[in-house]
């Protein structure tokens, strides 16, 4: 096994006793140590040894190892079921395990390749000195507000604690509503009443939205039109107002 211990970077609890990266790794090393043919695993014996090794390595509590032990026992039981001679429909209960072992073994071989490539690269130093006077400025950044908002959305979904939710009740929040209208108009040229005031808005939100629209119209940042009485008010971004 080439596995060194966990680097502190991994942080979380991962069973890595004696360099084993999981039940497949342990099973593979067992098969290799015993020089078994992976296509014809003697399940009864491997199962016993797997459980013995689990105990020896004190892996009794690790769910993934327990699951593998259970899987081996199930396969062992299936192997013992009687079957008719020349039964076409019979499928070797070991097939899925063999597929997974081979797949995992391939990845272990890729790990060897990566390890070698990484060592080759680590054996060469790049330039670390950054010339102050001649140092080129960093390349210009391509940033969009949408990217940032998507990131906020992601953070909110994955945050450990939903600490970012802070809803402060306010009597009337015209500034907040102005910010919202601007944000909506930054993304679209045209909007409607419902885009800036939610259908289930509280009265203070409706008032805030209305005052914000009137205020922004006064500042020529947008124009308001109503095609006919009681129709939806159309809000349109005024480019002239923004430039001013």
């Amino acid at each position: 096994m080439t596995a060194p211990g966990l680097s502190p970077l991994e942080g979380a609890f991962v069973v890595d006793v004696d360099g084993f990266n999981g039940p497949l790794d342990l099973l593979l090393s067992l098969i290799r140590d015993e020089q078994l043919d992976v296509y014809d695993i003697p399940v009864a014996r491997v199962c016993q040894q797997f459980v013995d090794r689990m105990h020896a390595l004190k892996l009794n509590e690790a769910a993934e190892y327990l699951e593998m032990a259970a899987r081996l026992i199930r396969i062992k039981a299936q192997m013992l079921l009687p079957r008719k001679e020349g039964d076409e429909g019979w499928e070797d209960p070991r097939a899925e395990l063999v597929r997974r072992l081979l797949e995992y073994q391939q990845m272990r071989e890729v790990v060897d390749v990566l390890e070698r490539l990484g060592d080759d690269r680590r054996n060469r130093f790049g330039r670390t000195f950054v010339q102050q006077a001649a140092a080129p400025p960093p390349a210009p950044l391509a940033l969009s507000l949408t990217d940032l908002l998507v990131a906020v959305d992601r953070v909110l979904r994955t945050a450990n604690r939903p600490t970012v939710h802070e809803v402060v009740p306010r009597a009337i929040d015209v500034d907040g509503a102005i910010g919202l209208v601007r944000a909506v108009l930054a993304l679209r040229e045209q909007a409607r009443w419902r885009d800036v005031v939610r259908a289930d808005a509280e009265p203070w939100e409706v008032l805030s939205g209305l005052l914000a629209l009137l205020e922004l119209a006064k500042r020529s940042e947008l124009s308001l039109t109503q095609p006919r009485p009681f129709a939806d008010v159309e809000i349109r971004r005024e480019l002239a107002g923004q430039a001013a």
Binding site: A139, P140, L141, D147, V164, H165, L180, A183, V184, L187
Partner: protein
């Protein structure tokens, strides 16, 4: 070049600072100080006579390889001309947290994201998007970070208040025609207004 000169070249290239003469001598304990001096001369002459874009320069009591000044301008111009870089998803997330929670300390960012963001904070700082805005009270008085004027400029904002409030995010994201991935609930009024939405003016 002789092998000592090659070793010196490799060391001077890899070092983040000028290397003092006696440290250079320690690179190869077998070589005498005179041999090191001669190898340095050889390297310098090689760069000068052979025609290189770099030069070996004595700085203080040490040595350093520097690019020749006549190329500086072209290098800067090329850097500006290239395709703009994008921030990684992790960097954007960190930036978003700082923008919404400033002033905020590193430990809080790590707590929200579940991983330390030291390297990312450093790179955002280097890019001028965030800056240290103070120190928190309490143990160790950790640094507090906030966004900069450059941040506003990059995102085309006039004030931080122009960022949608968190409870408005849903709307803003929905409106920007965000893709796939975004799992906003299709509130009936939103769907309705989307259907009624006029075609954008050309």
């Amino acid at each position: 070049m002789n092998s000592l000169a090659k070793l010196l070249e490799a060391a001077l290239f890899a070092s983040p600072r000028p290397i003092p003469g006696e440290e250079l001598a320690a690179l190869d304990p077998e070589s005498s100080p005179a041999a090191v001096q001669a190898a340095l001369e050889e390297l310098r002459e090689h760069y000068d006579v052979d025609g290189h874009g770099v030069a070996l320069v004595a700085v203080g009591d040490g040595w350093q390889i520097l690019t020749r000044p006549e190329y500086t301008e072209a290098i800067e111009r090329a850097q500006m001309a290239v395709r703009p870089q994008r921030l990684s998803a992790a960097a954007l997330e960190t930036l978003a947290i700082i923008a919404y929670r400033q002033p905020i300390e590193r430990a809080e960012i790590a707590e929200i994201r579940g991983v330390d963001a030291g390297a990312i904070i450093k790179s955002l700082h280097e890019r001028g998007l965030i800056d240290v805005v103070g120190r928190a009270e309490g143990l160790g008085r950790p640094l507090l970070y906030g966004t900069t004027a450059m941040f506003l400029e990059q995102f085309g904002l006039r004030h931080l208040e122009e960022l949608p409030r968190v409870d408005e995010l849903e709307i803003a994201l929905h409106r920007s025609g965000l893709p796939a991935g975004h799992t906003a609930v299709e509130a009936p009024d939103v769907a309705e207004s989307a259907a009624a939405e006029p075609a954008p003016t050309p």
